[in-house]
């Protein structure tokens, strides 16, 4: 079973090391985001709370971005190179697909986090690890939610086609805005606050932020974890259904 899951990891690793554009997602973009936020804070001489919100938010966004990309690209590479049917006729399962690709997303996100955190300590005297163990619970929530979101995008691609590929990049922006990535949820218009309340990422971000600011974080972490597990399981069922449906309509063999 692990060989099949590892296959997806192996493919993504090869694709990443082959292309500058692919490896930039892990190295260049997260650092650009970190330094932009860091220098901006130095310029406005932000208070410690603002530092937690802005740099902490940057870390969360990068982590989420890479985890989601890991799972979406696991399918999209095949779609772009018109070879999806080869993996669909292999003995790999949806679980292998999720496990291998999510592992790749998680490893790249952790690597990117480690590099960014070292640089953040050096340049901005800000250490994300000061959040304590809850930070890893937050990362787990973000990973599980990313899997769910990626599988919804992949399901739409498998069912309807290429036009849904762009959701890979569109959704990360929208979800981060709605998850109150750089600000408290109360800042959002009351109309959209119910949407943030159903996003696990909102709780994940709030949990590590609260931990860093010395506030209570357990309830946020627990809510986020429960929601993200439900979403991840539901999205796996959706993806399995999408593949089944696409085999009925004949769309899968054309991808």
């Amino acid at each position: 079973m692990l060989e099949r899951a590892y296959a997806f990891f192996y493919k993504q690793w090869l694709k990443t090391v082959r292309g500058w554009a692919e490896s930039a997602w892990i190295t260049v973009y997260p650092l650009v985001a970190l330094f932009t936020a860091g220098f901006f804070l130095q310029f406005v001489k932000g208070d410690p709370t603002a530092v937690v919100y802005l740099i902490g938010g940057t870390f969360a966004w990068n982590f989420y971005n890479l985890c989601q990309k890991g799972v979406t690209y696991g399918l999209l590479y095949d779609v772009w190179d018109h070879c999806l049917k080869h993996s669909m006729t292999s003995t790999a399962t949806v679980f292998d697909f999720v496990l291998g690709n999510a592992a790749f997303g998680f490893v790249t996100a952790l690597f990117s986090f480690a590099v960014s955190d070292v640089l953040s300590i050096i340049f901005f005297h800000f250490d994300m690890l000061s959040a304590g163990p809850v930070l890893f619970v937050s990362f787990l929530i973000i990973l599980l939610y990313s899997i769910a979101e990626a599988l919804v995008i992949n399901s739409l691609v498998v069912l309807k086609g290429y036009q849904f590929v762009s959701l890979t990049w569109i959704l990360t922006g929208i979800v981060m805005v709605l998850s109150a990535v750089y600000y408290p949820v109360e800042v959002l218009p009351p109309l959209v606050q119910p949407i943030s309340a159903i996003l696990p990422t909102t709780y994940a971000i709030e949990a590590f932020r609260n931990a860093m600011l010395g506030k209570e974080f357990v309830s946020d972490a627990a809510t986020g974890l429960v929601l993200s597990i439900i979403y991840a399981l539901a999205s796996m069922a959706l993806f399995s259904y999408a593949i089944k449906r696409s085999k009925q309509t004949g769309f899968l063999s054309k991808l």
């Binding site: 296959a7 192996y10 292309g19 006729t89 292999s90 085999k247």
Partner: protein, 326 residues
Amino acid sequence: MRLGSESFSTEDSLKLIMNAIECTGLSKKYGEFTALKDFNVSVEKGSVFGLLGPNGAGKSTTINILATLLTPSSGSAKILGFDVQTQAQEVRAWVGICSGASTFFEDLTSQEILNYYAMLYGLGGQARDKKVSEVIEMFGISEFKDDQFRELSTGMRQKTALAKSLLNGPQVWLLDEPTLGLDVEIAREVREIIRRMASEEDVTVLLTSHYLFEVEELCQEVAVINHGRKIAQGKPSQIKKELGLLDVISFTVNALDAKRLSSLQRLKGVQAVHYLKGKMVLKTMPSPSVVGSVVDELEKRKIRVRDLEVRKPTLEEAFLRLVEDA
């Protein structure tokens, strides 16, 4: 080894199956359009079976159903006794599929592509290395194994695709126009491998091809489908015979002698005689005795001829007749 004994493996039980592929009442509809209708076929284990038809006839639909890429609207299909819908995982374990002009990840090398797909079939460590080396050697791609897929020639790309389709050691090999766009030499190599896999490895091959000489050369049996319906099935020779396609005997003869040959028309088995631009053309029933009696007649009349040729009808002619009639 006895049935029911603990050491009786899946491979052992597969040996007992006579028909590797069984389609019963297989149909596929897309809305109002019927791509395949009530398709029945049994393919004997270890044989090479040809599936013929014009573009859009339903050949790829059939192959995609057998490869578990497409769900039939009704009917059933079994590979080695496993149902393609309810036992898809078992089917995928025993089936290899390759289409013409296959594409893979452009920036990965042939070896990396093969490693990746070997892993997807659960092969790890030494077993994977051994299998990948084996298929690389079989298809003669070792010289190009470290080249990225985008740099490969059409022939090498297709060889990589064929190599990939054998990674899981399939018992059923589904080949959808495997020699499409290949040069003569590589196409011949591919045909040789197909023949070898069936005769030496007992692999069942389902082959579609627009090159009918290839089908005639490789297949023990063929089915012709048109507009999603099977219109003929049998050995290529049997199909030609049933269609009553005529042999053609031709020879060069001078005009004077040609006039003396009107008696040929009366010979048993001769259906038509034409003389055009120095060439006598006879359409005859497919029987060796007809050729004999034509030669006897020429000798009896002491007529010297040149360039005597007997041409048997081809599968292509049979195919065209079938499709036109349908």
